[in-house]
């Protein structure tokens, strides 16, 4: 059973009271309880059942401008009192930093909106098994599929965030996730692909039959890939990976990267960094949104933020600490973005595919080849060759490379945005990049 607010409040208060007694001038604390249940299937048989019951506590103590923190999963008072002592001792000898402080009181979240982030429904193990059987039988579409794996996880979380300025708030959230991975084989060579869905509420879950079928169809479509010649070509990013461009942007406009001078977008506020029809929004208030929240990890109220407006960079993602360094107020982005997305473009998916005679359509990238200091980008990729708007053959063992500064200015968006993750983008074309193959 998920612990109620009262239980978590009591622990938070214990930490604040005891830290004060030992000399802390300011205190922030977060207490989390989570319960999760996962079931996984492989080749139509139960493979693993996993139940987790976890506590986590994070305490930060300040003595004026000095700061230190501790984490613990053992919430017993005997353990916490020892850790609080340790935290205060470390705080005393840590050098001062003028930017260390709790958030401004007037920025704190005052009211909890009901964003419908919690569904109390419990799906029993037997129900999960039934769901997964449907996923897997839908994935077994023909004998090219040689292995299927499917999983269902139910996660529930409750938390309290409190500080010594009197802030104390928290709420429950839930997540129901199901996925299917299918392996296909032809002439001894194998390919793997997947489909997945993650929802706040159980009844919004994708149909199990769709999850299985889509994973299998994708895995079969990838069979028999070719390696292509190295060339400059327009690259279309499937929705599964186009969101990665936004993650890079978020990283590059975080107050920490800007303040530390380690972002290729430093000093670009007010400048055109995308073409003028591109809008990028971070909205924490979407009902049932996977990235929705009432306040950030410091308790600062979060509101809708336009990061890019008609191609112009408008806002950084600011927390209290780096905000102070930049002389800017927190905009509630401690802990990062919420529901971050590109507004839809003008073209249908099919129109986008026909913009040029030939494109490379990428469905998966591997490696961590983005450098936010220089903007250089180089990753491994696989996908399909598109000629005259139609898929002609699968492609693999290639890399795609460019620099984000150029890539941003060459983006064309389709109009097929959907909210499947916390960060979402429609299908996206970058007009010219370098492909390395043969």
């Amino acid at each position: 059973m998920l612990k109620e607010q009262e239980f978590l409040d009591k622990i938070a208060s214990y930490c604040i009271d005891n830290s004060k007694k030992l000399g802390a001038t300011d205190i922030g604390v977060k207490v989390i309880h989570s319960v999760s249940e996962n079931v996984s299937f492989r080749n139509k048989k139960l493979e693993e059942s996993n139940r987790a019951d976890s506590f986590a506590l994070n305490l930060t103590t300040y003595i004026d401008k000095k700061k230190s923190s501790i984490n613990s999963s053992d919430l017993s008072e005997s353990n916490l009192s020892k850790l609080i002592e340790r935290c205060i001792e470390a705080t005393k000898i840590t050098p001062e930093d003028d930017s260390n402080s709790l958030p401004d009181i007037d920025l704190m979240s005052k009211k909890i909106k009901d964003l419908k982030l919690y569904d109390d429904t419990h799906y029993t193990n037997d129900k999960k098994i039934e769901f997964l059987q449907k996923v897997e039988s839908a994935a077994s579409i023909n004998d090219k599929i040689v292995n299927t794996e499917a999983g269902f996880s139910e996660n529930k979380k409750n938390f309290v965030l409190a500080n010594s300025n009197g802030f104390s708030s928290g709420y429950k959230t839930s997540n129901f996730t199901s996925s299917c991975v299918a392996v296909s084989r032809i002439n001894g060579a194998m390919e793997r692909d997947y489909e997945f869905g993650s929802k706040r509420h159980l009844h919004d879950m994708l149909k199990p039959e769709d999850i299985g079928r889509i994973a299998a169809e994708k895995a079969i479509k990838k069979l028999g890939p070719k390696k292509i010649q190295s060339e400059k070509i327009g690259i279309i990013f499937d929705k599964r990976i186009s969101k990665g461009i936004l993650s890079t942007l978020a990283n590059a406009v975080s107050a920490s990267s800007i303040s530390r001078g380690t972002s290729f977008l430093k000093d670009q506020i007010g400048n055109q960094i995308f073409t003028d029809n591109i809008n990028i929004i971070d909205d924490p208030n979407i009902e049932k949104g996977l990235g929705s929240q009432n306040f950030d990890s410091e308790g600062v109220e979060t509101n809708m933020l336009k990061i890019v407006d008609n191609g112009i960079l408008k806002n950084y993602l600011i927390d209290t600490y780096y905000g102070k360094k930049l002389n800017l107020k927190s905009n509630g982005r401690s802990g990062g973005t919420t529901n971050l997305y590109f507004e839809n473009g003008a073209l249908d998916f099919n129109e986008l595919l026909k913009l040029e005679k030939k494109f490379l359509y990428i469905t998966e990238t591997i490696g961590h080849g983005g450098n936010i200091i220089t903007g250089d980008y180089s990753v491994g990729a696989s996908g399909y060759m598109i000629e005259d708007g139609e898929i002609t053959y699968p492609v693999s063992e290639i890399t795609i490379a460019g620099n984000f500064k150029d890539m941003f200015k060459n983006i064309v968006l389709a109009n097929d945005l959907e909210f499947k993750y916390s960060t979402n983008a429609p299908t996206l074309l970058i007009k010219e990049m370098t492909v390395a193959g043969k």
């Binding site: 048989k45 139960l46 493979e47 693993e48 059942s49 996993n50 139940r51 987790a52 019951d53 976890s54 506590f55 700061k67 230190s68 923190s69 501790i70 984490n71 999963s73 053992d74 017993s76 005997s78 340790r86 470390a90 000898i93 840590t94 050098p95 930093d97 193990n125 292995n147 392996v183 060579a189 194998m190 793997r192 390696k227 190295s230 400059k232 303040s259 530390r260 001078g261 380690t262 360094k325 998966e364 591997i366 490696g367 961590h368 080849g369 450098n371 200091i373 220089t374 250089d376 180089s378 990753v379 491994g380 696989s382 063992e397 290639i398 890399t399 490379a401 460019g402 370098t434 390395a436």
Partner: protein
């Protein structure tokens, strides 16, 4: 003596009885208890940015029958919690007809001391050293734009309670010291990162001004990159330097030789046992027994003593890496490769220290044999698709080779290859095998575990370099 039940309403013998009762008619399983302390201290932007102490304790209770694993974990080491977990496991494994395998080898070897690196260097002396690092690097001139340095220390005590009161214990120290520097010249910025570590105390690594060498190396890499030009795009010859570039071995073939993927036949290597998968001069081992190395373990997380497992011998595929479950299902023995990130995670076969052994050629011979190619000295991370066998890794220091000579440094680029065929393209194996400096963390299915790699210089005949210059 167990410390896990000290403040609990349950004692060791009661816990052992629950384990024995739960695992009746199971093939395998155990109660795994873990007490993990860690400390992170970060200097960044001329300030001690954060100091964090983490105390995590809990258990993971596993019951295995046939191919099915039931798992339950919690922070609450109490009678009620263990009984609830036990009920959960029994409920999942309704019809079990297994025979518990009591066979678990014993070891007297120890590959590291039971020290707590967090406590045996004072907090003040760590802060002091971080400030020295900052001052030392910034004294190298105004091109130094940013310095980040950190200490990551941990101590993990584990206890494994198997059926019929069989108890195994291990205490594992681990440290890492890391320096990252950003240089700026004429508007161009580049980063250099270097670190050292392993299963000893900090001062074993940092004594005699060793920390300055870490700083110098980070500075050198960033400095080289300031003059880098765009990397080439396309297939060419690649010479890899010794040491850390062995993450190529880790990604290209290491993951593909883990037992689970081969039992499930989802690895590109699953039908290649006994076959030639590499050039003749290539021998690759995965060794958990190297003293004080980051990837070493006295016993694995199932209690099996680790060993030096030969994966590929003179080009022939000899062994997979196994945990107990996959070994049992494949009719072989655990290689002591059963690992988990923590009590919150299930066991999987994982790498420890993966090494390609030395051959007979010199690095100079390799470079002088290349007309057009690249020489890759240092890497960031890598990744592999087990099923298709395609893998990548990112160069962080590399040079072009023109007519047998090392030329200009090139920008960071991703290299991509095909696991099962890349080792057949290794035409020369160097005589200069070197271990990495002790910084690797391997990720698999969301679990990170510390690992090591080693290799000599090697020449690869053909690989795709993912630059921008055609």
């Amino acid at each position: 003596m167990s410390n896990f039940f000290k403040n609990s309403d349950i004692d060791s013998s009661q816990a052992e009885a629950i384990v024995t009762e739960t695992l009746k008619n199971c093939d395998d399983g155990e109660l795994y208890l873990e007490n993990h302390k860690s400390e992170t201290i970060v200097l960044d932007d001329n300030k001690i940015k954060s100091s964090n102490y983490n105390s995590d304790r809990g258990y993971g209770f596993r019951a295995v029958t046939g191919e099915v694993v039931a798992y339950s974990h919690s922070n609450d080491i109490s009678k009620e919690s263990l009984n609830r977990s036990s009920d959960n496991l029994k409920d999942t494994l309704k019809s079990k007809k297994g025979t518990y395998n009591h066979e678990i080898p014993k070891t007297n070897s120890k590959y590291y001391e039971n020290i707590n690196p967090i406590e045996n260097k004072t907090f003040n002396s760590k802060l002091d050293l971080l400030n020295k690092v900052n001052n030392y690097l910034r004294s190298k001139g105004s091109i130094v734009n940013q310095v980040t340095a950190n200490f990551l220390g941990e101590h993990k005590s584990i206890e494994i309670i198997r059926s019929d009161s069989e108890v195994l214990r291990d205490d594992r120290p681990l440290v890492r010291f890391n320096v990252s520097v950003v240089l700026e010249k004429e508007g161009k910025k580049e980063t250099g990162v270097y670190g050292i570590g392993g299963r000893q105390s900090y001062d074993d690594y940092l004594k005699d001004d060793n920390w300055k060498k870490v700083c110098d190396e980070a500075f050198r890499i960033a400095h080289v990159n300031l003059d880098s030009k765009p990397a080439p795009a396309g297939e060419m010859k690649v010479v890899l330097g010794p040491g850390w570039p062995a993450i190529l071995i880790h990604e290209a073939i290491g993951h593909g030789l883990e037992g689970d993927f081969n039992r499930k036949k989802t690895s590109a290597f699953h039908n290649l046992m006994g076959q030639q998968v590499a050039s003749e001069g290539v021998t690759i081992v995965d060794d958990g027994t190297l003293h004080q190395r980051r990837g070493s373990l006295t016993i694995d997380d199932e209690g099996t003593p680790t060993e030096n497992t030969v994966l590929i011998e003179n080009g022939i595929l000899k062994n997979y890496m196994q945990d107990r479950l996959n070994a049992r299902l494949m009719g072989t023995k655990s290689t002591g490769s059963g690992r988990r990130e923590s009590y919150k995670h299930v066991i999987m076969p994982r790498m420890r220290n993966t090494m390609m052994l030395s051959g007979k050629y010199s690095q100079d011979e390799m470079i002088s044999s290349v007309d057009k190619g690249i020489f890759a000295v240092s890497f960031g991370g890598g990744q592999v698709d087990i099923t298709s066998g395609k893998f990548v890794f990112n160069c962080t220091e590399a040079y072009e080779i023109v007519n047998g000579k090392i030329g200009s440094p090139i920008k960071g680029a991703t290299l991509i290859g095909d696991g099962p065929s890349i080792l057949k393209e290794v035409s020369l194996v160097g005589d200069d095998m070197k271990l990495d400096p002790g910084i690797g963390t391997c990720g698999k299915a969301g679990q990170g575990v510390p690992v090591g790699v080693a290799q000599p210089s090697i020449l690869i005949n053909k690989m795709t370099v993912g630059g921008t210059k055609l």
